[in-house]
């Protein structure tokens, strides 16, 4: 083997590898006589292909995206758009690989706001100020883009929607049967309600206890709903508090009302459990409405939602909104077309059907849309008017780990904290392994500290 020179400072692992590989492959290629398709798409002369990634890719949404794409392509000859689905669990790895290999998607939508902040902080994203201007700053609800403000005075992304991701979903029929007359507002009430409704093979709740991002994201909400926080506004670790112990205590007490397999639940399982009628309550965003309508119409008339209860009446509600984003990686080809397409996504003719593909799930961020009769005309939005309006207001006041309260500085490490599963690990260690909460929280606080410093 020839000596290889590996430089790392300038990112490159260079050397003679290319020749070595090509020699080996050249032989084989000749012998084989195959020519391999080189993958990254038909880049015929004169056409620009824009790659679009999103984890929101249910069949109905895909259909709407395709029609938006068709409209845009018709208006911009020579531009092709390739939609590629990613996933909530998979995007950190996929984007890391894409950034490292410079095989970038042109535009990424529906990732949480903290992902945008995280990548922008590493110098990997294009500022979105132009796009926001093109859409029209005054069309947004006031403050809709605040989570995207960066320390250098730009926007790292823009909101494509709001989601109230941890609403408490309820079945009015089961509540009636159990003699519960109003939605639970405190943890004690919730626990009692779950206990009463857990009969005849139906479980109380589908809370996630899995080692995954949902458990982390959902449990952060419980810490806040006990009056605590994960970080201080200056981003010092603040998880080691009585509120966290209380949240763990409650979360543990709910285990007996959740299905056995909740120890592996993520978004899909939790949603399906409520929609299929296996649990009396649910914890999810507005997609419940569309899924219930399509998959289990027999309970559709009884479904409603409330903001998730807090520990006691004096603690205000805290709703997890991942602030689905639009961002553009730095260094993509055809930047002008990409920006045009990003702004195009917000045009009413396409934006409304896109929102309608999952009614109540992705809520509009443009007030011009929220008031548009065409948007409100959707049968599901009509049928569940009260629920959709509650979710809209809850989401607008929502927060997430990258933006725990309005006073918090943006947390640029939120993405890695979620990907590391440390908070899910805390839940699992205390709830499943029965480890002592104080010591475990201390241990996790140390891990968070390490992650912040890494």
């Amino acid at each position: 083997m020839k000596s290889t020179e590996i430089r790392l400072g300038g990112t490159s692992l260079s050397g003679v590898s290319r020749r070595t590989v090509l020699q080996g492959l050249g032989m084989a290629g000749l012998a084989a006589g195959v020519s391999l398709p080189l993958g990254s798409g038909a880049r015929a002369a004169g056409t620009a292909t824009l790659r679009w990634w999103s984890p929101q890719a249910s069949p109905d949404q895909l259909k709407m995206y395709q029609s938006q794409i068709a409209t845009f392509e018709a208006a911009h000859p020579g531009v092709k758009i390739a939609f590629e689905p990613t996933s909530d669990e998979g995007y950190p790895a996929q984007l890391a690989a894409a950034f490292a290999s410079k095989q970038l998607p042109n535009i990424v939508t529906h990732l949480p706001s903290f992902a945008a902040q995280n990548y922008y902080g590493q110098g990997l994203l294009e500022p979105m100020d132009d796009v926001i201007k093109a859409i029209g700053e005054d069309k947004y609800f006031p403050g809709a883009n605040n989570v995207y403000k960066t320390s250098d005075g730009h926007y790292c992304g823009t909101a494509i929607g709001n989601t109230a991701a941890d609403m408490l979903w309820l079945r009015k029929d089961l509540m009636q049967k159990a003699g519960i007359d109003k939605a639970p507002a405190t943890w004690d009430e919730l626990r009692t309600a779950c206990q009463k409704m857990q009969t005849g093979g139906i479980f109380g709740a589908p809370l996630p206890y899995g080692l995954n991002s949902m458990t982390s994201l959902i449990f952060i909400g419980f810490i806040h709903r006990a009056g605590g926080q994960v970080f201080t506004p200056d981003l010092a670790v603040a998880i080691d508090s009585q509120a966290t112990y209380d949240a763990l205590d409650f979360y543990k007490s709910m285990r007996e009302f959740c299905p056995a397999g909740a120890t592996n639940y993520s978004w899909g399982e939790s949603l399906t459990a409520f929609v299929s009628g296996a649990t009396a309550t649910g914890i999810y965003a507005g997609r419940v409405l569309a899924n219930v309508t399509a998959q289990n119409p027999s309970i559709a008339d009884f479904v409603t939602c409330a903001t998730y209860p807090t520990k006691s009446a004096d603690i205000p509600a805290w709703t997890f909104n991942d602030f689905p984003s639009v961002f553009i990686p730095k260094g993509v080809d055809n930047l002008a077309e990409t920006k045009a397409f990003a702004a195009f996504l917000f045009e009413p003719a396409g934006y409304i059907p896109q929102l309608h593909a999952a009614p109540g799930h992705i809520l509009p961020v443009l007030k011009t849309i929220a008031e548009d009769p065409a948007y409100l005309a959707n049968p599901i939005i009509q049928k569940y008017k009260a629920e959709v309006s509650l979710m809209s207001s809850a989401a607008a006041a929502g927060n997430n780990l990258g933006f725990e309260t309005a006073q918090h500085k943006p947390n640029l490490k939120a993405n890695e904290i979620i990907a590391s599963n440390v908070i899910a690990e805390l839940v699992q260690r205390v709830v499943l392994n029965g480890e002592e909460p104080k010591a475990t929280v201390g241990d996790i606080a140390k891990k968070l500290d390490d992650l912040m410093k890494a």
């Binding site: 790895a93 490292a100 080692l211």
Partner: protein, 301 residues
């Protein structure tokens, strides 16, 4: 094989030797490019701290190694990896040898039975995991319901979410997926055992068990040695099955070393640490392999 051991002398033999080198050249070049170069690079990368998306980093020397070998994560993951490997391997061998003995008998539709038994090995790990996750499903999974119907359990079992269930399920699925390898290898060997050996043993008064321990097992020793070596290595480095079935949970009770490497590299974006874990894992494998080969050779003498 014997013809090849002499040193080449005549012009013809020299020409042949050159041809031989020419023929092996593509193999050697490919191996250098795709195996040895990455291997050296992994060693090199493990001396840096690198952020995956930007691939920027700085030299840290042996720090990564000190951190890895000093961390609880590494040793507990090593323990988990060992538990999984030993557990699933033992199950594979028992099930595999047993099944091979049965399939060596004269049974009805023998070739159909063989196909069905071999299939799990060839089916994709992704497919195997999907099937088992569906069987294990807490609400609609058939496994719990069959057991409830049979009166063995009262409520559905949490197969993958708590210990020791998660490890046991993992070991069982691993055994199901990989035991056919043992079946085929053993079956091939069983068919070459001379019938006279069994006849002689029967005349000496050996029963079925006696015949198995006195005749079959010694005859299988060689093939089992190889099978165990290969399967140990493959099970030790297994990623797909564990990653897809439990993802390492609950907590980190099924998180084996390959999963840590993946998480470090692409979850936490610590490429250098990932390389360090990978190298450490290889060192462990190397040690075990050498010990095993040494003992196998001594046993053979």
């Amino acid at each position: 094989m014997a013809s090849a051991t002499r040193a080449p002398q005549s012009p013809l033999e020299k020409r042949y030797a050159r041809l031989g080198v020419l023929l092996i050249a593509p193999t050697v070049l490919t191996m250098c490019a795709v195996i040895i170069y990455p291997l050296v690079s992994a060693l090199y990368l493990s001396l840096f701290s690198i952020y995956t998306p930007t691939l920027k980093g700085h030299w840290v020397g042996a720090d990564n190694y000190i951190r890895v070998f000093g961390s609880r994560e590494f040793w507990s993951a090593l323990g988990v990896t060992a538990t999984w490997t030993v557990g699933t391997l033992a199950a594979q061998i028992v099930l595999g040898v047993g099944m091979a003995l049965l399939l060596n008998q004269n049974i009805l539709f023998r070739s159909l039975a063989r196909s069905l038994v071999l299939f799990p090995y060839f089916v994709s790990t992704v497919v195997a995991v999907l099937i088992w996750r569906w069987l294990f499903n807490d609400l609609y999974g058939i496994l719990s319901h069959l057991l409830i119907a049979a009166g063995i359990i009262a409520v559905p079992i949490d197969w993958l979410g708590k210990m020791p269930n998660a490890m046991e399920s993992l070991i069982a699925v691993g055994a199901w997926k990989f035991f056919p390898f043992v079946v085929i290898a053993v079956l091939a060997r069983l068919q070459t055992i001379p019938e006279q050996l069994y006849e002689a043993a029967t005349i000496d008064g050996a029963g079925p068990f006696g015949r198995f321990f006195d005749v079959t097992l010694p005859q299988l020793r060689e093939v089992l040695t190889i099978v165990i070596l290969l399967r140990t290595i493959w099970d030790f480095k297994e990623f797909d099955l564990i990653y897809l079935l439990t993802g390492g949970g609950p907590v980190n009770n099924t998180r084996t070393l390959p999963l840590i490497v993946y998480q470090q590299a692409f979850g936490l974006n610590q490429m250098g640490m990932a390389a360090t874990y990978a190298v450490a894992m290889m060192l462990v494998m190397l040690v075990f392999m050498l010990i095993y080969l040494y003992r196998a050779r001594r046993a053979a003498l």
